[in-house]
Amino acid sequence: MDEKTILSRIAGGDTDAYRLLVDRYHVGLIIHCEGLMKDRDHAEDVAQEAFIKAYQRLDTFDANKAKFSTWLYRIATNYAIDELRKRKHFADVEDIEALVDVTMPFAPMFDEKDAVRRAVARLMPPHYRQVIEAYFWHGKSYKQIAAEHGIPTATVGTWISRAKAQLKEELS
């Protein structure tokens, strides 16, 4: 179902249709927030709050003027900056803006889903595929992945880095 249809269903009183948007964007948004907050639990809190704020302000959103994902990510980014400042963590807006680009949903016309999925399926050894799928597709944290594999959290980071290097080569 396309985004405009979902939004018009929500506007028409079908509040449960919002679940489709949460389903569609939560993994990417959590990863985006994790990059900003440097903490998974805080990132999930910020992502959840962003979904709530977006829902509450949905009547101010014009689907003809922006993509929902761009608007949602902006809400999350602003909220993350506020939270970092509240916690008196160093929050240089320029640094954050540089990070924002790394995980922002990118131009939707550049689509190569099938090639990426096949490249992930070919990752060797298989635990590289498992960690990539777990983190980027199933929305699991490093901590959860580490517990499932019985390995230190740092090792999850190492496996993901190596897997990404393989993917970059495969997809270059």
Binding site: H26, P105, P108, F110, D114, R118, W137, S172
Partner: protein
């Protein structure tokens, strides 16, 4: 995080391609995700909604109290003669005995119809597509075109689309099984969907998959829990030939290593198959090579009178990055809309494209945009050079139009040059 994706070229042109993180997130299959998070978030939203609308809900409850109740199923049953009730009870037993088969529907088969082939503005054969029950392709007003240089018969397009939908459904189903299986804590168990295979050997106890470039020969145990599926519904094991059918399978395998970081070795012990899926079509329809013989076209977002390639392959040749802290780099106003067209001409300050509907759009560019791009091909990607006739995909701030237009540089978000779909790494044949 990978931030090595950006580079700048002469003349103010910024070349940028998506990061590997963005590409992975974008490729997330339907049905994947953290359902605990989704449930928690929806609970929080519903809670907030209830608090905000408590008064409204209360009023609605009072209003509905006196409304006549609808006749329920049980109320209707009570009015039936005893003979009819007995007949219904017998029918009910028959229905419930087949529940295991009837209740299982992992996915629905896509229904694809194509219309009469015509030749489009690029001289390619094109057919209108009507597609239903396909999770991964649900756009409206779709057209499918035969890729340049391909000898694909347009009559084959419906089957190719059916195959694409079915393949995606099986991949998503494998992901669901993987999530539901909740991997044990200390073993390297791999649960996932295979590619389409035909040279398997199936017996009542196991399925053997020949070796491939990425895996040794594997024999996977068939257990009492193994599911046999076709078109999303359960079938009998005997409905699948001992070899030669097109199948995908979801397996549970173990890979062990001598220690963290050491190479993993396939461990045949305990390898089993969770599901074997008999595919609806011959294997060739699912292959990447065959799928690359076709592209889909949909109305351009924001420019519905023109069509754009869906899931296009391409190279970013210009991308504008705003900077909130720099007044000279303001954000591009919304809405951002999209257009595609071939370059008809260019000069030092602009380029013109012709869209699918024949409109001519002129885009202002940085000084010597194309010449400067072509002077530094190695610094860009894969030695691509730009020329008249290239197909561009452009995102810009504007409003839908049906006439010719000139778009200022400050309104352009990005420009990409499009390539034909290809299965070969580094093969960039312009669209």
């Amino acid at each position: 995080m990978d931030i090595s994706c950006q580079g700048a070229a002469k003349g103010g042109v910024i070349v940028k391609k998506p990061t590997i993180e963005q590409r992975l997130i974008d490729a997330q299959p339907e049905g994947y995700g953290n359902q605990d998070f989704v449930a928690r978030t929806m609970d929080a939203i519903e809670d907030a909604h209830r608090k905000t609308h408590a008064h409204e809900i209360f009023s609605r409850t009072i209003r509905t109290m006196d409304v006549n109740k609808k006749e329920t199923f049980i109320m209707k049953l009570k009015q039936l003669p005893i003979g009819v009730l007995i007949a219904l009870a017998i029918a009910g037993i028959g229905i419930t005995s087949g529940t295991a088969y009837a209740a299982f529907q992992a996915w629905q088969s896509a229904v694809v119809k194509t219309g009469k082939a015509t030749t489009n503005q690029d001289g390619r054969s094109e057919v209108p597509v009507d597609i239903a029950q396909c999770t991964s392709i649900n756009d409206e007003d779709i057209k499918a075109e035969v890729s340049a240089g391909s000898t694909l018969d347009p009559k084959e397009i419906a089957k190719l689309l059916q195959a694409r939908c079915e393949f995606d459904e099986v991949i998503a189903y494998g992901g669901k099984l993987s999530t539901e299986a909740r991997l044990p804590l200390t073993s390297n168990i791999d649960i996932g969907s295979s590619d389409v295979v035909t040279d398997y050997r199936l017996s009542g106890y196991s399925i053997t998959i020949p070796s491939s470039a990425y895996s040794p020969e594997k024999t996977l145990e068939i257990t009492p829990d193994t599911l046999f599926i076709a078109r999303g519904a359960l079938i009998k094991a005997s409905d699948i030939k001992p070899t030669g059918d097109s199948i995908m399978y979801v397996s549970r395998e173990r890979w062990t290593s001598a220690g963290v970081g050491a190479p993993q070795v396939y461990d045949p012990f305990g390898a089993s198959v969770l599901a074997i899926i008999k595919m609806s079509l011959p294997a060739r329809y699912y292959s990447q090579d065959m799928q690359a013989k076709m592209s889909l076209r949909v109305p351009c977002e924001g420019n519905p009178s023109d069509s754009c390639v869906r899931n296009s392959a391409g190279l970013m040749i210009y991308s504008y990055t705003s900077d909130e802290t720099d007044p000279s780099k303001p954000a591009i106003p919304q809405p951002i809309i999209y257009i595609e067209g071939r370059i008809t001409k260019y000069n030092d300050t602009s380029l013109q494209i012709k869209t699918s509907s024949g409109r001519l759009l002129t885009f202002k560019t940085p000084a010597r945009f194309i010449d400067s791009f072509n002077e530094y091909p190695k610094e860009h990607f894969e030695d691509v050079k730009l020329a008249a006739g290239d197909m561009l995909s452009i995102a810009y701030n504007g409003v839908a139009s049906t006439g010719n237009q000139t778009i200022e540089l400050k309104a352009i978000s990005y420009m990409r040059v499009l390539f034909n779909p290809s299965t070969k790494v580094g093969e960039n044949v312009k669209y």
